[in-house]
Amino acid sequence: MKLRDRQGTEGGNVLIVTVVITALMAFMLTGFLTHTTNQNQHTIRSMAWNHAVPVMEAGVEEAITHLYRNRANGYATDGWIPFNNAFYKKRTLGDSVVIVGISNVSPPVVYAWARVPIPGKSEVFARRSVMVNTIDEGLFARGLVAKREIVLKGNNVLVDSFDSRDPAYSTGGQYDPAKRKDNGHVATNLGIISALSTGNANIFGTVATGPGGSVSIGPNGSVGDIAWQASGAGGIQPGKSKDDMNVSFPDVEPPPGGALLPPSAGSPVTISASGNYTLSGFNASFTVRSNAHVNLTVTSDINITGSDRITIEPGGSLNLYMQGKVAKIAGNGVANAGGSATNFVYWGLPSNEELTINGNGSLTGIIYAPEADMTLNGGGSSVEDVTGASVSGTATLNGNFQFHYDEMLGDLFKDRPFIVTAWNEL
């Protein structure tokens, strides 16, 4: 009997120990599983949280593209819905949703709200939102720009800027060397060694190449602000050279063809009425009368020589859309009597591969030919003034050129994608 009693007590002890150990193991296992579950949930939530960023950005990208493509047509298109002086659009990206809004102010402000489901949880979402400020940069935010090489050769080459709107930085809206500014920026997208060769030029501003590119400067060359130039210091002023140039150059689209003019083979053409015109065989003088505003599409090469010239009388303007391959404007060049660069704009379409202007006097105008190799040849020993702005495929300046960028042009021709100036996650 005693033996049986002892066995009963021991059996009870074993049972208690077993229960305790089992409970301990169960407790530990529960803790282990809870830890693992927490980590898993934390990871999943973090993934969803980060997944919301590209969803949000997709909405911002769509809004910025919409702003760029529809600035002329109004924003209430392509599924964008007007609402309280704003426009919005909802997009579903897989199981995520983004709602994008454009505040109709100038410059526009973009809002994006992203909602991403958290895997494994029903109707639980990660939500993120952002407010993006933009700026509408013009085609001519810099003075002398090229997609590829820029070579400045010759003597007395100078690049500076002025502001034809501001009497403190111009006289009668014209360039005045006593009032010059130092925003004559020269830039290329090309990212190779010596992508930009400034020679012995004096550049009142900055120089820039594409990533990895470099600037070649001659022994008497100088790049810097007005004080740097006044000091006679050579070389590039610290901070005035960058290699982060990366700008898109939208193609030029021609205007509606308009009235077909007879070929100007040896016969000067004079336009007195505003309108759209088309011309083939452009090799004689061309005159735009006062107060006539002309859009001229040229479908062949341009070859102006001898005593011929392009003349724009005061109050008139010429937008020349060049579809032909080669444009050579020599002779007496371009006489822009109104004095404003906006009165003569040369638009080179993608088919325009070459533009050569042999100066004989000053040239006041704007050149936008992003596929053309542009060459400006100065004439003789006198200094040629080029006033306005230029964007081309390549740019070569030979001779005694002084290039004066009109900063007023930076606020015109808003035809570039909008640029993000602030990103504020809410």
Binding site: M28, S46, E137, G239, K242, D244, T421, A422, N424
Partner: protein
Amino acid sequence: MVATGTGALVMIVVAAFMMYTARSFASLDNYLDLDIKSRLTLDRMSKEIRQSDRLISFATNELVFAYQGTNLTYTYDADARELRRGFKGGTETLLDGCDELTFSMFQRNPIGGSFDQYPTATTETAKLIQLTWVCSRDIMDAKANTETVQSAKIVIRKQQ
């Protein structure tokens, strides 16, 4: 005698089990701690760098950004093995137990044919920041767990 021997054997097994379980728990706890701190730090830094105005100064162990009208600083103290965040006069520790931490800066433009970006030597052209860190935890003075965050590249969204 047999019962004592069996009991001792069971106790040894239980003790060993407990020891390994405790070690496993400590290891798991360390992983959890590393994971949470790394994720939170990365989320926070990526958000702040993304919306900063520009990079003011750079060193491989310190970044200073223009952010919300003042300076935002991230500093790695190798001696203390800590990553600290300084903003508006305050300082807080984001990461501890960091054996390595390196900052790199790049331009935004990708190199053709690759996923890499052009490196830059000046803060003026820096638009992308790469963060790399290795943090670890000890168990009974032995380095047992390590976590590495690799190639966390963050683009400053402000373009101009």
